[in-house]
Symmetry: D3
Subunit: 239 residues, 6 copies
C-alpha cells in the first residue's frame, strides 16, 4: 500500500496545485524555459521512493530529505542527477520546506506515530498556494497542521497552504490497490487456511510479526507503546 | 501552450481515473506485480510528445498513434522501449482506443478543425470508467463525443466513459502558462513596438504567418477554409 | 551460467522467430510504426533478469511474471516503464503466455525440478509460429511440452509453436562461458588445492553447500528429494 | 527497410558468432567479469543507427565509424558513453575492423554502389571466427570479400571469418517487414490510385524522386551512373 | 572546438572550485546527503550543450539560460529532469548567476563580439569562492569582468570570485583537439588542394562562408561590423 | 569520505591529463569522432563505484577490475553498456593498466594495507603522459610506485607517468567533506554525549567496531595485524 500511496501523492499534489483547487497554479514539470515546481519529499523509504519516481517522471525538481545515510546512498545511486539528497536536520527541513511548491510527508514508522517534522511556523512561511500531502496521516501525520480528510473533501487550507491529508489514499484507485493487496496477502491467507492460525504463525515469522492483538492483549510493541497499553510478545500470547 | 496542455492532459486523465471522479479506479503506473494503465496518445506532435513523456514518467504503458513516418521514427529514437509506436490507420485506432484506460486526443492542425478520429461506436466499446482527454477541443475536438467543458465542471460521461474536454487547459496553471506565453511572445511584442505592425511583419515571416484577420479580411488560409470565407494572402492584405 | 543462459535465451528466441526457422516472422523490436514482439519471461531471478535486459535492449515489449513481491519490487525499480511486472498466478500465466510471441522459461530452483508452469493446453492456444525457450530444461523444464534438444537440432514444433530447449545453452558461446566459469570457480579451486577437500569445505560454507555426492551418499537435500534417495548432511558425510 | 535490416544485422551477427555456426563462440554482451564482444558499425545513417541501438541493447562494446561530422555529433548526443564515435579514415577502419568480433557494413548510398571500405587484407588480419554482416550487399557490398547469400545458406567463410551477406534480410521477418512497407508506401499508393502516375508525381516531389525508369529511360541519376547509361531527368521523361 | 571548450569548461570549473585554487571548496556532485554545486550555463548552443552534459555527468545541479525557445525545447527533450531550462532575461540571469557556485559563459556569436550578460554588479553579489569560466573570451567574453588568461596562470580573482578565462582552452588537450580539428578541416583541405581556392569556394558554400579576409578586404559581415570596417561579399572579393 | 575521494579522483585525473600538467593532453570524454580516454578503475567498492560514475559522466571509456563476482554483477546491472567489468587477475590488470590513459587505484581494505596491484614494470609500459590516481594512498597505496603527496604539490612523474597520490583528497573540497563527515558522525556523537563511551559502544556495534585503540591496546584486528602489534578485542578492552 505504501507504493500506491507514494505514487498517488504526487498526482494528488499536482492536482491540488491547480488554481481551481486553490493551489498556486504551477505545473509540476514547468515547460521549456519556465522552471518546474520544487517537490520536497520527507522520508526516502518505500513510499518516499515511489513519490520521488513519479515526481521525476512529471518533470519536477526533487529534493529528498532522509536521516539514514545508507538510504541516501541508494537513492543517489538510483536517481543520480535527477534528485538532490539531503541529510535530515531541522535546519535542512526548514530551508527546503519553506521554499517548496509541494511537500510530501512520507515518514512511516511501523506501528508507531509519525514525528511532527514540519511545524506550524514553517507552514506559515510557505508561499501562498503551495501544497502539502501527508501520506503518514494514518499514523497521526508528520506535519503539525495535518488532520485526516476524505476523498469527498480531500483538502483544507492553513495559512494559505493547501493540505491534502486523505487517510485512505489507495481507496481512490481500488482496481490497482485491491490486486496489490491480494498479491501481498495471498501467501498468508493460504497458509492460514491450510494450517490454522497457530501453526501458520509458528511457521512464518513475518505472519507472527503482523499480529497486533491476540486474546485481548496487544502483541505489537510499537502499537502498545503508542496506545500506552501493556505489551505481550506474540509468541507468548498465542500459546 | 501545446506543451502545457500536453503535460496537463495526463495529470487530468490520471485524476479522472480515480473512482471518486467516476473513473475505473486504476493507478496510471500500477505497482510492482499489478499492471499499469494503458495510455493511448493520438498524435505525436508537440502536445502528444509532452503527453507521452509525462505518461511514461508516471509509469503507464504508452502507445502513440501517428501518421507521419518521420515523427514515428523520432519518437522511437527518443523513447525506445518505453513506448509502442503505431502507424495511424482506422483499424489501429479502433484496436488501441477500445482497450485503453486513458486516451489523449492530441491531433492539432494549425488553424483548421481536428479530424474526428474516435467514433461514438469506438467509445461505446471501451471499458466502463475509462477516460478520454481531448486537447484539440479548441478546434472542435478529435473525438466524435467531445464537447467543450470548463475547469469548474471539467468532465461528463458518455457510454460510461469519462470525457475531459476543458477548452482552456493551461488556465489551471497560470503561474506556468503566463511565463510560457511571455517567453514565446516577447520577441514579437518588442518587434511590433519598435517597428509598427507593417514593418514588423515584413521583417519576420513567422509574425506574418500569425496574422489571421486584417482590415476585415481573413488572411490565414486554414481559418478561412474552416469558416468557408474568402482568403486573402497576408502580404496582400497589409499592403 | 544463469547469466549466459538468460542472455542467450533472447538471442535464440529472436532467431527462432525468423520465418526460415518456422517462426512467425516477427522482428523482436518491430520498427517505428509496427509494434514489437511481446516477450513473456517466467521468473525474475538471475536468468530471468538477464533475459529481460536483452529483450528490452532489442526493443521488445516485456512482461515478467514472478511470485516474489520483493523481486517484483526490485525489477520495477530497475527497469521502470520498460517492463510490466506481473504477480504469478495461473490466470496471469495463461493470459500472458497465450498472447506472447516469445516465452522464456526461467524458473530455476537450485537442485530441484522445475514446476510445469505452462501447460499443453496453453501452448495450443498460442499463435502459430510463436516461440518458447526453456532455460530450466536441465531441471526437467518448466513447460509441459519441453524435452531436451541439442545445438545441432535446437528446435522442434508442438501445436505450431517452436520450442527451443537446448540443455547446454552456454555451450554455444564457450569463449564467454569458459571465462565466466573460471571466474566463478577459481577461488574454490585454489582453496581445494591449498587445503584439501575436507579442510576447504570446513572453511567455506559456500563450497560445502555445493557438495552433492560424497562417499556414495547424496548430500544435497533438494537433489536427494528430486531423486527420492536418502539425504545425508554434507558435514556428516565428509566426517 | 533500412531499419529492419539494421536491427536484424546484430541478431544475425550474434547468432553467427555461436560456435555451432563456426563463429568464435563469444556472447555479444559478455557477462559480468567477462568482456563483451566488440562491434564495429561502418556508417551512422538509419541502418547503422538501428544496428547501434540493438548492439548496445545486447550489451556489446560499440564503435561507429562515420565520415559526416554532423552525424557523429548526433550519434554522440544520442548514445553518449555507450558508444565510441570515430571519424572515418582508412587507418581508423583498419584499426577497428581488425580487432572487432563483429563488423556491420551499413554504408548505403541511394541508388549507387557501395564503396569497398574493408579490404581482403583487413579481413585476413581478423581473429578466426569473427563475423562480418554486409547490409549494403544489395548495392554490391562494402567489404571486398562480400558476395550475396540467401536465408537458406546465409554464411560462408573467408580467411576464417564468417560472412553473412543475405540480400533480402527483411525477408526473414515478413510479419514486421510487410507492415513497415505498407506504412511507408500507402500514401504513395493512394496518391497514384487517386490521381494517376503523372499527376501524382507532379504533386509529390518524393514520389518523383523515386522514379528510376520511365518509357525505357533511366530517370535516377545515381542508377544511371552506376550502370553507365544515359540519364534523363524524371520531370522530362514523364512529360 | 566548441565541443572541446564546452566539455573542458566544467573540468576547469570543478578544479577551480577546490580550496587550494581559492575556490569555495565545494565538490561539483556533492555526496549523498550533501547538496551538489549549482552550475549555471549561459547559452545552450554546441558549447553550452557540451558543458551541460559534463556538468550533469559530474552530478551538479544544472540550470541553462538561453533565449531561443526552440533550443530550450530541444534541451528539455534531451535532458529532461536532469536540468532546469530558463528563458533568458536580465532578471533570470541575475537571479541564477548570483546564487551559482559555477557560471559558464557559453554565448558564442559567429564572428561577432559576445554580449556582456553578467555585470560587475552581479559578480559582486556572488558567494566568495564561486567560479566563472568564460568560453567566449576569444570574442571579448560575456562577463563584464572577463579578461584573457593563459594555461600558465589560468585564473584571477574579482570580488572574491574566481575567473577562469583561458583564451585557448582546447590547447590543454592537444591530443584530442588536434584530431578534432583534422576531422573538421580535412574535407576542406582536400578540396583546396584538388581545385585551388577559387574553384573550391565556388563549389562549397560552407568554405566560402569561412572566408574572412580576401585581397585585403573583410569578407565576413560580422567580423567587419565588429571591427568597424567595410564589408565586401566573399563571392565578389574572390572574383 | 570514500565517496568524496572516488568522485574527486576522476576530476584530479582529468586535470592531470592536461598537457600543462605534464599529462598526455587527452580530454576524458573525447569529442564526436575522436575516441575518449580509457579509464581503468581498480576496485568496485564505494570509492570505485563513485569514480566509475563520474568517469562515465565525463564521457570516458571505463573498465572496472574487481575480484568479487557479486560486486561485478551489481556494477553490470547498474551501469550496463556504459562500462566493461573485468574479473581481477594479474593478467587482466596488466592488460588494461598498460593501455589506460587514467588508472584509479580504489582498493580499500578496512584498517589493513592495500595490496600492490600495479607493479613498477606495468607502469613502465604505459604511454607517456598517462595518469595514475591512488585513492588508497592512506593505506600505503595500491601501486608499487605510489608515495604520498599534498594538494600543494599533488603530482610527480615515474617513467613518464603522472602520479597523483594526495593523502587527504577530500581536504580540497571542505565545504562538501565537512558536511558529509557531520552527517556520518552525528548519530555517534549524540550517542557518546548522551550515554558516555562505554554505554554508547555497548548499545551500538558499529561504534564498537570503530574503536581502534583503548587504554593503550590495539582493539582493531586489521590495524594490529598491519602494525604487528598485539590485538585485544574491543569489548574486552572497554571492560
Amino acid at each position: 500500500m505504501s507504493e500506491v500511496a507514494g505514487r498517488m501523492s504526487i498526482q494528488a499534489g499536482a492536482t491540488s496545485l491547480e488554481i481551481t483547487n486553490k493551489g498556486s497554479g504551477i505545473l509540476l514539470g514547468g515547460v521549456p524555459g519556465v522552471a518546474p515546481a520544487k517537490v520536497v519529499v520527507l522520508g526516502g523509504g518505500v513510499a518516499g521512493t515511489n513519490a520521488v519516481r513519479v515526481a521525476i517522471g512529471m518533470g519536477a525538481q526533487v529534493v529528498v530529505i532522509e536521516k539514514s545515510i545508507e538510504r541516501l546512498y541508494h537513492l543517489d545511486l538510483q536517481f543520480g542527477s535527477k534528485i538532490t539528497t539531503v541529510y535530515s536536520t531541522i535546519d535542512a527541513i526548514e530551508e527546503h520546506v519553506t521554499t517548496a511548491d509541494l511537500v510530501i510527508g512520507a515518514v512511516l514508522i511501523p506501528g508507531g506515530s509519525a514525528p511532527k517534522l514540519v511545524t506550524r511556523n514553517m507552514v506559515s512561511q510557505m508561499r501562498q498556494g503551495s501544497v502539502m500531502v501527508d501520506i503518514s496521516i494514518d499514523q497521526g501525520g508528520c506535519f503539525e497542521t495535518s488532520k485526516p480528510t476524505t476523498h469527498k473533501q480531500p483538502t483544507y487550507i492553513v495559512d494559505g497552504v493547501v493540505h491534502y491529508c486523505v487517510s485512505n489514499m489507495p481507496g481512490a484507485v481500488p482496481r490497482t490497490s485491491t490486486f496489490a493487496l491480494n498479491n501481498a496477502t495471498l501467501p498468508f491467507v493460504l497458509s492460514l487456511a491450510n494450517y490454522g492460525y497457530k501453526q501458520a504463525m509458528k511457521q512464518d515469522g513475518h505472519l507472527l510479526n503482523g499480529l497486533n492483538v491476540c486474546k485481548g492483549k496487544l502483541t505489537h510493541r510499537a502499537v502498545a507503546s503508542a496506545l500506552h497499553q501493556e505489551y505481550i510478545p506474540a509468541e507468548v500470547a498465542i500459546g
